[in-house]
Amino acid sequence: MNLRIVAASLVVSIKIFFREKTTMFFTTTFPILLIFVFGTIFVDQDKVSFDLCLQDLDRTETSAEIAKALALTGKFRIIEVPPAIDATQYAKNNKANLVLVIPKDYEKSYTQYLQFDNPNAVVTIKYIYDPSSSSVDTKMQILDMVFAKMNQGLSGKPPFISRAEISIHTRKYRFIDFFIPGIIAMAVMTASLFGTVNVNTELRQKGIIRKLSTTPITRTDWILSNILYQFVLAVISTTAMLLVSYAVFDVKLQINGWLPLFIVLDVFTFVGIGMILTRIVKEAQGAAAAANAIIFPMMFLSGSFVPLEMMPRYLQTFAKVLPLYYVNEGLRASMVFRDNLSALSYAAIIGTIAAIVFIVGITATRWEESK
């Protein structure tokens, strides 16, 4: 290995990067755009509220209390449905996934229940809903809780079971705090894999690799210069992402030595995989498709966007064979939970994967072209 040759190749790559304005723009802005999009979605996740269509057939002061109680939870924005309209038809016409119908004689039954202690005086509130909607279950669960509380209040007895929340973390974190490390890991992976595959297939197709093979540069020098170049890009994009995260979303993340270490291991792993792909797939289009085939499962199954607990058990097991999972978990352990021991164990696993992939990448890289 010759460090002067590695440095010379790195300088050329960086010059090309800064002269290709579109590449530079997308490398730095794409992860920032992702943070803006997902950050905006998740930053106020605790304050999320749903539209709720409510048809009050009773039209009394007592029935109006239900609407007020529901609005007070902060979970619903109430949309009144006129009593003359068929609620089912209304739901279909207005694409409403849930219409709550308070029956006629609600107040009468309520009075009988309270004043005359009549146990048969009950009311049924109808949930007219669209089962194909993904959010309707959440809405109905919140409604059930509200009505359970109201029923319990009407019984005149204090609740027997109450709850006390004790977080396992010493600080309170929001979803965005967990999300940012995942986005950093994912952005570094995407840039490293695509960058390596695109640059190397292009250089091979143009015959530049063939020319380089007649110079003293070795495969190790070439791959190391690729890794260093991708590391420089990763530092630029990670810095940009963190600045936006702190400035716009006020995240509370710990920046320490683990961050550059996990970025280096992320780069090593995915540049190595990129080198292997470049060897296997000859054409630029095929290489990009192969890179996508690796990136998409990593993105969605390794916990970058979606918490693993939301996935089926077999996918959770599968996630543990994906290198990106260990980068995600390692970054979260160090940046969010400040758990050095966990960070160390994740670093050891991704470090081993990076070393294997790097060695295979060097072995797979061929200056000589087969025909």
Binding site: R4, I5, V12, I16, I208, K211, S213, T214, T215, P216
Partner: protein, 317 residues
């Protein structure tokens, strides 16, 4: 590893196969130190395969190739610093300037004292030093490729079809650079399908066809040893001239100037042809009789022409 050897390049029973295709078939030749050696042949003849084995890009299937006495398959790391290569269809980094490209390659060879300005002057690119590669014309790109091939002051320079795809003016500019290398005493291994290029520059020409070397000598000797006939050129606008020659048992063909060439082996044949033309009433505008040139020797030896249209492609052979 610096040793004095008589032959800069030694090729012994070299064969290269790609699956069932035999691209180079058991060829042997030597290139002396300081000579310009031209591999002449049509596309697909095996020129590029041979040169790419010699300049360490690809490995042979069998046979031996020694560069400056070193085996290309075992001593690549010692060979590479001592050779310069212009590969076929040379290309470089689009957004890197001419000077930066030269600096990069000089760093790859760890040449701290590379005379970049001198090399740019040699290939007449001094005024383009700050221009990015993507903005250069085809001829300028090739000249940069040659300058890069010289950046490590190599003992042997491999130039694989250095003028393919260039217009006649750019081609002549590249020839001037190559003549400069010859004067400097560099060993040059050149592949080309331009007869004129080989004839002008080469000390030795090897004619290769279908993976085999079919003749090898200096251009003058090649012509001498194969000139057992004369070429009669007839200038005529009368299409009947072709018919008459055909009926007499000759095989006439049109040359580049659209005149009729016919190969004659006895001087008596010339008198017979002229009489036949007169009897048939064919009017001749002029005639010429001379020994064959290298192109005609090539045609005789290979049975195929080096067509200009075939030169456009950069297909690897």
């Amino acid at each position: 590893m610096t040793t004095e050897v008589e032959h800069a390049i030694e090729v012994e029973n070299l064969t290269k196969c790609y699956g069932n295709l035999v691209a180079v078939n058991d060829i042997s030749f030597n290139v002396r130190q300081g000579e310009v050696f031209a591999f002449l042949g049509p596309n697909g003849a095996g020129k590029t395969t041979t040169v790419e084995i010699a300049d360490t890009i690809i490995r042979p299937t069998s046979g031996k190739v020694r560069i400056l006495g070193m085996d290309v398959t075992k001593q690549k790391r010692y060979i590479v610093p001592r050779i310069g290569v212009l590969p076929q269809g040379f290309s470089s980094f689009d957004r890197i300037t001419v000077r930066e490209t030269m600096q990069y390659y000089s760093r790859l060879f760890c040449c701290r004292n590379a005379d970049i300005d001198g090399l740019l002057e040699l290939v007449n690119l001094s005024d383009k030093a700050r221009v990015q590669y993507m903005k250069l014309s085809g001829g300028l790109k090739q000249r940069l490729g040659i300058a890069i091939a010289l950046v490590n002051d190599p003992e042997i320079v491999f130039l694989d079809e250095p003028t393919t795809g260039l217009d006649p003016r750019a081609r002549r500019e590249v020839w001037e650079v190559m003549q400069g290398l010859k004067k400097e005493g560099k060993t040059v291994f050149l592949t080309t399908h331009y007869i004129e290029e080989a004839e002008l520059l080469a000390d030795t020409v090897a004619i290769i066809s279908k993976g085999k070397i079919i003749a090898m000598d200096s251009p003058v000797q090649l012509i001498e040893s194969n000139a057992d006939y004369l070429v009669l050129t007839l200038q005529s606008v009368d299409g009947k001239a072709f018919e008459v020659l055909g009926e007499m048992g000759f095989e006439p063909y049109l040359n580049n100037h659209k005149n009729i060439n016919v190969r004659v082996e006895r001087t008596d044949d010339i008198r017979k042809i002229l009489n036949a033309m007169k009897d048939a009433g064919v009017s001749l505008l002029g005639m010429d009789l001379r020994k064959p040139n290298l192109e005609q020797v090539f045609l005789k030896l290979t049975g195929e022409a080096l067509r200009e249209e075939a030169s456009g492609g950069n297909g690897t052979e």
